[in-house]
């Protein structure tokens, strides 16, 4: 039953043959491209571990408990950078999450209808600023501002806390500045997902709550936030993934640390910033390999964080799956 208008049977069968072969070939080609994606992820894991193997096989898990990074004695450990990564990302997430939920609520429920779209795209535009530009601004504008205004003020007000103790530096290249930069990078991610989540709450539920005499705040607290809970969790995890893995802007503003400091006014280093900052300076094979061990840790964390986020997103709403990224 071919609908192809032909006069002789020969072209029909030839066309059918081409069609059938074409279908098989095309299917195969697209499948190959899809499989290539899996191969690439596999190859990334294999190659990174392969490059870092010298250090991985030598230090094994001692790497995680060693604070020293000493090219002179040729001895390396990751604890300093694990600490820097954990503090910078989690604190940035802690600041960014409430801010982003508020922005999401504003954009979905509160803002005047005329400006909603405009403000939403402005917030998203924040995510489009290349990290190297944000880092440049961080070094030359934010850093000095933190050093001359924010740091002394925080020290006066909260100096009894270990993280705000100690003398603020001159140039503001510090863990705290890195936290601010990471917060700026994470806010657009979480707020644009939150906005979509809040918009997807069925209108009948919202109107029902309002009809029952709930105020807008009660409606938000009782209807919108609970129904978006797991989505917000996924958004936070995706934001965390972004913060953990950001290399460039953090390298530019965090200053680089050789020793542990409790104070956030002091320079520090994260896994990603150590790798990015030392890309040319590794002098021995063990040092180079140890840098890549850091990248391997980052890779494993990145894989875990993203898989967890995808699982939550999918369980929560298959239709939205992946849109989040």
């Amino acid at each position: 039953m071919s609908a192809v208008p032909t006069t002789t049977p020969v072209p029909i069968s030839r066309r059918r043959l081409i069609d059938r072969l074409g279908d098989i070939a095309f299917h195969g080609l697209t499948l190959a491209a899809a499989l290539l994606c899996i191969v690439v992820v596999g190859a990334i894991v294999w190659k990174v571990f392969d490059l870092g193997w010298l250090s991985i096989s030598r230090y094994r898990f001692d790497f995680f408990t060693t604070t020293v990074w000493d090219p002179v004695k040729n001895h390396y450990g990751a604890l300093l950078f694990l600490y820097g990564t954990a503090v910078s990302s989690f604190v940035a997430l802690l600041i960014a999450t409430p801010l982003s939920i508020a922005i999401g609520l504003y954009l979905s429920e509160l803002a005047p209808r005329g400006v909603r779209g405009l403000i939403a795209s402005l917030v998203e535009m924040l995510a489009a600023i290349p990290s190297v530009v944000l880092g440049l601004w961080g070094i030359l504008v934010l850093g000095p501002f933190m050093a001359s205004h924010v740091d002394p003020w925080l020290q006066d007000a909260l100096g009894f806390l270990p993280m705000f103790s100690g003398q603020p530096g001159q140039n503001g290249l510090s863990l705290l500045t890195a936290i601010v930069i990471l917060t700026i990078m994470v806010v657009p991610i979480i707020s644009s997902i939150s906005r979509e989540l809040f918009l997807s709450v069925p209108n009948e539920l919202e109107e029902g709550a309002l009809a029952l005499g709930a105020t807008r705040w009660e409606m938000v607290r009782g209807v919108i936030l609970p129904s978006a809970r797991s989505g917000i969790a996924a958004a936070m995890i995706l934001g965390l993934g972004r913060a953990l893995g950001e290399a460039i802007a953090v390298t530019q503003v965090i200053g680089g640390a050789t020793a542990f400091h409790a104070s956030w006014f002091a320079p520090a280093d994260t896994l990603a910033s150590k790798v990015a900052g030392n890309y040319q300076s590794a002098s021995t094979r063990l040092e180079a390999s140890s840098l890549i061990y850091l990248a391997a840790i980052l890779l494993v964390i990145g894989l875990l964080v993203n898989i967890v986020a995808q699982v939550i997103v999918r369980r929560f709403d298959p239709a939205r799956a992946g849109r989040a990224t």
Binding site: D19, A102, P130, G245, Q252
Partner: protein, 273 residues
């Protein structure tokens, strides 16, 4: 409580928009004075120092990103076609997860990966940089293409099948052209993202001379790494150049994203009917 919520929400949105404005205004104010035709079209001074231009980095970024697009665009579209047109649900789901995970991996790790694959034993090259950037772009393009392919009306597919058109002819001749606008949009957004990516290039194309290079088998100058290197120098004149280069980059990225979003809105409207 209502009042508080409203003011907190408004304030939070103001803060975010405020930060955007502050960053863009500082880049524009600090970059504009050194931005000139001379800056865009001449090479950096032979022995470093300010007063030169960034033409070598502009050419390099154009070639690296262009090549990355040439790799990522066909692959991304093929993946999207497989996921929307061919894959059974059971197989599509895990592949989808892998694509999304790829999108979320730290880009510095991608740089390390390509360093191990193409640079160790050889040398840094524009090609290695392109391959690294293409991994950044691939999931973005695949995701965007998939979204528009899903918007193509089912009636079109059914019409093709009813006419006895084979799948591959239907996809290449009818479905893909319908989704063309959306795919272009996704690609432009991916280009805007890739043009500003620094981390994948640090290990693959970061040690370069001041000359214009079109040889992709050698390390090529590029704008993001140039800004990164200049920003780490203590030289105020180099900072000046970094600001101007940042202005060029940010202008390109923002204009490309805005254009892509306008295009997307239009192609969604036409497809939505």
């Amino acid at each position: 409580m209502n009042r508080i919520m409203e003011s907190v929400g408004t304030l939070a949105a103001l803060v975010a928009v405020g930060v955007l404005v502050i960053v863009i205004v500082s880049v524009a104010r600090k970059g504009a004075p050194s931005l000139s035709w001379h800056f865009l079209t001449s090479k950096p001074n032979l022995f470093g120092g300010a007063g030169g231009g960034i033409s070598n980095a502009i050419v390099g970024t154009a070639i690296i990103v262009g090549l990355a697009t040439a790799i990522a665009l066909p692959l991304g579209v093929l993946i999207a076609i497989y996921l929307t047109e061919f894959a059974p649900k059971r197989i599509a789901a895990p592949i989808q997860v892998v694509v999304d995970v790829l999108a979320g991996l730290p880009t510095i790790v991608l740089g390390v990966f390509i360093y191990g694959l193409l640079v160790v034993g050889h040398q840094q090259s524009g090609l290695a940089g392109s391959v690294a950037l293409s991994i950044v772009m691939l999931p973005l393009i695949a995701r965007a293409a998939q979204e528009v392919l899903l918007l193509v009306p089912t009636a079109l597919r059914e019409g093709c099948l009813a006419l006895g058109v084979s799948r591959w002819r239907a996809v290449l001749g009818v479905i893909l052209p319908t989704a063309f606008g959306g795919i272009v949009t996704g690609t432009v957004l991916a280009i805007a993202r890739a043009a500003g990516e620094t981390a994948p290039l640090l290990f693959t194309s970061s040690i370069f001379s001041n000359a214009i290079s079109t040889d992709i088998t050698h390390s090529m100058p590029n704008i993001p790494v140039l800004i990164f290197i200049y920003s780490e120098q203590p030289d105020a004149a180099l900072h000046q150049d970094a600001w101007a280069a940042a202005l060029v980059l940010i202008a390109f990225v923002l204009i490309a994203s805005l254009a892509a979003k306008a295009l997307l809105a239009r192609s969604r409207r036409t497809l939505g009917q």
